[in-house]
Amino acid sequence: MMEETWVVAVRSIIAFLTLIIYTRVLGKQQMGNLTYFDYINGITIGSIAGTFATDLSSKAWIHFVALTIFTIITIIFQYITLKNRTISKLMDSDPTLIIQNGKILEQNLSKMRVKFDELTMMLRQKDVFDITTLDYAILEPDGSLSVVLKPENQPVTAKDMHMHPPKSKLMTEIIIDGLLIKQNLEERNKDINWLSEQLKKQKITIQDIAFAAILPNDKLYVDLFKDKITEKIDMGDYEGPF
């Protein structure tokens, strides 16, 4: 007896796992850095995977082939645009200057089909509320805006102040869900004795800890499973039951 539910279940599993494998092969380009073409291509691949799972009127094989071809072409184009700058520019377009010396370049703006409202919104998102504080604004191929403030409006850096701040370090997690990550502890040149001493001071054990990390200043940050928060903050905006 043919059971449609089973067929859809099997095809969904195949589509899901194939999509995981293919997206892993396609690489780790950040979502925010996708160009418009990458975005549309991603949607198309997702759509093919969707019909792969549910469209029983055609063979699963047909959708699998389409998914594979789309992935292969994307990889080929990724490789070509990596090696050939001209094709890369053709495919991904150029960044476009839309503000120069605080003046909006209307022609470039209309070429990119960006409205003034959208421009002011993007500026606000970049914390720019006064257009005259800008030297340049550039519309990137992924649709985001990059801004260069005039020198007098740029924030003061440690270098400007001739200061020598300590070298930057990272936060290193050493306990997750009550489990010690020895490798990370050693990475920060600490040992289990140092950790036990720190925990003893706070009268807690490793098993009580949900998350612990060594901060850039070498101090220990600890978050317990029991947070002991008495004052609850309500983030909801209506009284409803949920």
Binding site: M1, M2, E3, E4, W6, V7, V10, R11, I14, L17, T18, I21, R24, L56, S57, S58, K59, A60, W61, F64
Partner: protein
């Protein structure tokens, strides 16, 4: 390093190969694997029985064919179009009706349509 190699290369490649095997197995799985799923042979015999107007034998032959089709569907349903499955079921049902009515012309039309559907099944 070894685990990473297995997880990143061997496992995905094996999965893709298994998926391809499942999806492309239709033309292999439609072939008979026992004595109760010889659909094509059964229809070919039915054709001869209808030509010889042996209606009693044709009746049991079409019943066998429909049961054989039920068995084959279980195997091929993951790799062939649902429409083709329904088309073949429809043809068998019409052949059964033709046998009941002892209408050899109608049966012959359906039998030849069945051969085309069977040839394309899983290809």
């Amino acid at each position: 390093m070894k685990t990473r190699f297995w997880l990143l290369y061997v496992l995905p490649i094996c999965l893709i190969l298994v998926f391809v095997a499942v999806m492309a197995s239709g033309s292999f799985l439609k072939k008979p694997f026992g004595t109760d799923d010889r659909l094509l042979e059964s229809i070919q015999m039915l054709e001869k029985q209808v030509e010889g107007k042996k209606w009693t034998e044709a009746k049991s032959q079409i019943n066998y064919a429909m049961q054989a089709w039920d068995k084959i569907v279980n195997r091929i349903q993951f790799s062939v179009e649902r429409e083709t499955i329904y088309d073949i079921l429809g043809t068998l049902a019409r052949i059964k009706g033709g046998v009941a009515a002892e209408d050899d012309k109608a049966i012959m039309e359906e039998v030849y349509y069945f051969y085309v559907l069977w040839d394309n099944l899983g290809d």
